[in-house]
Symmetry: C2
Subunit: 451 residues, 2 copies
Amino acid sequence: MKVIKFGGSSLANSTQLKKVLSIVKADDQRRYVIVSAPGKRFDGDTKVTDLLIQYARLTIHHQATAAIVQTIIDRYAEIGHGFNVPEAQLTPIFTTIKNLPNQTYADNTYLMAAFKAHGERLNAQLVAAVFQQMGLNARYLDPKDAGMVVTDVPDDAQLIASSYANLAKWAASEQILVIPGFFAYNRNGQICTFSRGGSDITGAIVARGVQADRYENFTDVDAIYAVNPKLVHQPAAISEMTFREMRELSYAGFSVFHDEALIPAIEGNITVNVKNTNHPEAPGTLIKSTRACNTAYPVTGIASSSSFCSLYLRKYLLNKEVGFGRKILTILEDHHVSYEHMPSGIDDLTIIFDEHQLTTALETELTAEIAAAVQPDELYFTHDYSILMLVGENMRNRVGIMSRAATALAQHGIKLIMVNQGASEISIMFGVHDRDADQAVIALYHEFFKA
Amino acid sequence: MKVIKFGGSSLANSTQLKKVLSIVKADDQRRYVIVSAPGKRFDGDTKVTDLLIQYARLTIHHQATAAIVQTIIDRYAEIGHGFNVPEAQLTPIFTTIKNLPNQTYADNTYLMAAFKAHGERLNAQLVAAVFQQMGLNARYLDPKDAGMVVTDVPDDAQLIASSYANLAKWAASEQILVIPGFFAYNRNGQICTFSRGGSDITGAIVARGVQADRYENFTDVDAIYAVNPKLVHQPAAISEMTFREMRELSYAGFSVFHDEALIPAIEGNITVNVKNTNHPEAPGTLIKSTRACNTAYPVTGIASSSSFCSLYLRKYLLNKEVGFGRKILTILEDHHVSYEHMPSGIDDLTIIFDEHQLTTALETELTAEIAAAVQPDELYFTHDYSILMLVGENMRNRVGIMSRAATALAQHGIKLIMVNQGASEISIMFGVHDRDADQAVIALYHEFFKA
């Protein structure tokens, strides 16, 4: 059987939910339906989750909430009324929204988590009611009843592994189970949410727990593309990719999945299928452990991200000094800063960071501490740093990929400030100046997909 | 004025010393002559230093030394007699050799250092006598009288910085000073030697101390070549290179200088000129702080070395883990192992080592400790690892070098297992399988020097 997850845009209103209904009806293997909160209906619209965050803030600050409550209720009401769900089934949902401030919360972090989680929780209840109304044998399954227990971190919970055995008990269900994404309960029964990408991870957890044959992840694109469609018109769709390729591409700007969202699917060896709610006939993209070799296209995808910065350090006879690397990494660790890469020359070293981790003050501090610890001849941060990733399982054991890539970039006059190939056989990493990043992606795309 | 250093092959016998004499006579700026011990006269010959090491071992083990003493004396005698140096000047040298075992040494390490150092010490005395005999105003200058004081490590001494002020007092000398390389004295007056490359470092120290205009380093090649002459017939000579280029090339197989030998010259900003004793008219190679840009040849030299091994480590979500790098480096440091480079992917990491540091037992130990500390999904050592360095100051700010290099390698079917560019702007590092290393160097040479 299949676990099937719908994102916010697939559930934004009754029109979208009709598509979801057809998709669920079209395949009786689609037995576990993971739902997000209703998303944006149009550009500039506000997601229900963001409305709930506002609602929580107003509650915390003891401000008037009537208007926001009505706005949230209206979103659910439109969907319910669109399918003639009886008022008797809608009223408890509306009441729950109104009563959220009257519950007991350990502190405001738990309050915020519970408010946000209700975007999914109430939507799953509503979707279950809609499915029933439309003749499906469906029911709502709360994460508590599903046996999903998480660590006690209200806004960044981790699943406790014993949950999988609990979920396995639901593997024989004949009913369609509608399960809210994004949250579960800690051992005290308090709501805790996963961090970003939370409904995707619920889908992966359920898929692993019930040992699904497939995890279908419905979104609003026909497939994952080999390159950002904002840079290249109608780029090649990726029909199949491995989990490792996904990871390498996610890293540098592919925003389809959060890094950690697919871990349970990987652990359970569940094939993931990214599909389009608005165009369910399209085969979408399969993400799996291994895949067939296609030598015509050595490269699977090309990603880029400008959210990096680098620290350059030069010291004569650096490579003779036992412990200099450890000293620097200890300083980073003391400041809870993780680094991405550390390419080194003979007498110099570049440390590449996700720049979101750093502030000007922290950079000054790190610079001072590293200067004191290793007394470099030169030491400075630079933010004009983009990373491009060329990723493909078919690059493994192939000669000439670097040649083609470097030549394509050189022909466009793009200066390489970093090249890193070596640890992973399935990717090559290029560092370029921010101004060159888009042009570099386009040049690589044309080399490997149009040649 | 100039400091001029002669290696062992330039001083192997009286025939060679005649060339040295002409060189010294040809330029009255050549005022400080640093001498090595007599080297090999022919393939298969034994250097005087190695004879002295045998002599020291026999002494330590209380074995007969008469034969080895005579062999050593014969080497000096041949040179002295070749220039008709009076017996009165040779006898003290022979006596010193015979009496080496009768001196007092703190322990056998000091004994070994003193025996070895006498290869240079007695040769400098002999060369001074030859120079006098041949009409030059020359004298022997002992490192003690020169004021060269070193740390108390008999076989790996470091110069104490105050020595430079002592040496500066000899800057005004009108005489030619013949100074032995390779050793000096600790604060207790005991002989301590520099580690490998020791006469080169004495030359650099004296050049800095007397603020020489140039440090001429005479060896047995016309120049430093852009590539190993064993791989390419009559390769291009390097007319000028910077200290940084020298360092980067030395690292991967260029054996002209020991890594640390030129540090005093770099600190003193003394231009080094590598020249050929057997062909002193050749301009040789200049090594200096900066050099003119020559865009026709972006690459200065290409080196390769197979003396590396690598440790591959893969772990899912590696880059999310604060502290994994530090944990690994701490383990290496605990075992006094320094690493060369650490290219990383998203979920994997390769650590490259100079393989001389490792034994099978140590590798097993490191593997076990790293496995315990970071619990990787995969972890193994591999020794089939050569590093190629493409080095050139003119590569700085140039587009297209990687393209040309990678294309040349691809055309020869050479698989790149590592590419590292980023920290140093003046070099690109390639990792290849050992079997491909020579072919790769040749391919790169033809691309950058013959195209």
